[in-house]
Amino acid sequence: MRLSNCPVNRNLVIAPGYFLMEIETPEIAAEAQPGQFVMIKTREGREPLLRRPLSLHRVSSTSIELLYQVIGKGTQALSQTRPGEFLDLLGPLGKPFPLPASSSGIILLVAGGIGIAPLLALAEQISERLKVKGQRSKANLKIHLLYGAKTKAHLVRISDFQKMGIEVSTITDDGSGGRKGLATDLLRKFLVSPHGNISAAYACGPRPMLKTVAQLTRNKTVPVYLSLEEMMACGMGACLGCSVRARASGIKYLRVCQDGPVFLAEDIILD
């Protein structure tokens, strides 16, 4: 984990309010694993005061890519950063996605909105690993992305998934891309339709979506991983600010930044 000032290579709008940023940072890239995140000082000074957590969207050997949605001050400032300007990064932070244990069956990725961000890095890692191991065959392992977004324009990076042979089902709030509905509607449908064995599921998106994913998969015996968001100050496990309730006897909290951001659905209670 590093603290360093890194130059921005690219920072482009790729959908309404969505930006793709590439940052040159060999040291962070070298350590970075899908599911982890970085804490970025989005602007010098005290406005906003805190760093902002953003997931690794893609990792190359010398740079990382971030995919972010402009929400408020921090992401607004980020969106105005020009190539060549420097940003202060802390990372990589948090625990990576655990990779599927089995190399057969179906791996489900469930993305809601900007929740697509960490899933691309994960998909690339899984594909890469299979390629290296030479194990990949259509029969053995299938990745299926269930992807919901606001409008068709907000469905980003689909061809990148498809290039890896991943099947993509989409749905939008307004019906402009795929049916009208939520990512969880796709999941609900998928679970009742005939399909092979699911060997793992990974979900990232708004909290209500994650809650529904947890409910829908409650009876499954396969691991269901949720990537959570919570307000963060340090991002390093020190301030205890980013808690999520643990499914344990008594009251116990886990730190999203350090014990997560990826959790097994069965380990946590989402309020």
Partner: protein, 310 residues
């Protein structure tokens, strides 16, 4: 340049510390900075038994400030000694243990337990946490109970004792005096201001607990003022804290009368900040023709402000 500073009997190699609750127990930060180079580190508040803390959300950002309602989540004193302290000892950090009790008895017990333990430079008695139901702020807003808590701890330990005071009081000098009468070696000023922020979309408080503690640059003027008042009126040794996010901010506290400072929120944002401040502090002292940090403390040249030349 001599950066050594004394807060009562507590001797620090330099005056830059990390504040309680912003450092955890240090494991996380060791890869980023050499803990032995800090003036000291203050642990997260430790209680007799482990505490789960408050429900999330526990953080909210405000203009130049941070609201928190952690609620003293901690592993409890036993696990602290067993699991956390050895690491800090190995890192050669100067460790101040921030302790918190819900009753006098708990403070007494904590002092007793920690008195015997190796690798602790002092105790910081937290009587100022706004985020707990019992104890905490309750003790720290009245002179009587303040004195009693400090006396109690003092009676059970030979370690230097700092009283960490709350700014949520009408007269900080009165509380500070009581803490010194109780036998404190010095005072840490300030803990967080009670504050609240509301999410206007949901019309709900941003913190699950409603009210939390405000820290960060926003509160610095309040902290500097309290350090100034207490060090002027009582000549008590003071460690300043509240909104330090730069060397300049730290200097305000020394000039106001603090013998050392703690960095909380500023450290969460930039964990390298303390180690940036140390050399810049040396540069400043040089520039001002001062021999060491002690000659800066409380050193306001005249009564009237001199206008700065551009």
């Amino acid at each position: 340049m001599n950066l050594k500073t004394k807060i009562g009997r507590l001797v620090l190699q330099n005056p830059i510390l990390v504040a309680s609750g912003c450092f955890g127990y240090g494991e996380e930060y060791a890869p980023l900075l050499d803990l032995s180079r800090l003036g000291g580190v203050v642990t997260k508040g430790i209680s007799l038994k482990p505490r789960p803390g408050n429900s999330p959300p526990r953080l909210a950002e405000t203009p130049a400030g941070l609201l928190n309602s952690i609620g003293l989540e901690n592993v409890g004193v036993d696990r602290f000694i067993e699991e956390k302290l050895p690491f800090l000892r190995k890192q050669k950090a100067c460790v101040l243990v921030n302790i918190f009790g819900e009753s006098l008895g708990e403070y007494r017990k904590l002092a007793e337990i920690l008195d015997d333990i190796d690798g602790i430079a002092g105790l910081e008695v937290n009587i100022s946490c706004p985020n707990v139901e019992k104890g905490g702020l309750e003790f720290g807003v009245k002179p009587d109970s303040t004195r009693k808590v400090i006396e109690t701890v003092r009676g059970k330990t030979s370690l230097p004792v700092l009283a960490k005071l709350s700014p949520n009081v009408t007269d900080i000098v009165e509380i500070a005096r009581a803490a010194m009468q109780g036998g404190a070696d010095g005072l840490t000023l300030i803990n967080t201001l009670k504050g609240m922020a509301i999410d206007v979309k949901t019309r709900c408080p941003k913190l699950a607990r409603g009210i939390g503690g405000l820290s960060g640059p926003a509160i610095r003027p309040v902290a500097v003022r309290m350090v100034y008042e207490v060090s002027r009126k009582l000549a008590a040794p003071v460690i300043g804290a509240g909104g330090i996010d730069s060397t300049e901010a730290a200097l305000e506290f020394f000039i106001a009368g603090a013998g050392a400072v703690q960095i909380g929120t500023g450290f969460l944002i930039n964990p390298r900040l303390p180690l940036t401040i140390i050399p810049e502090l040396v540069g400043y002292l040089d520039n001002q023709g001062l021999k060491g940090i002690e000659s800066l403390v409380g050193n306001i040249p005249a009564d009237k402000p001199k206008r700065r030349k551009k």
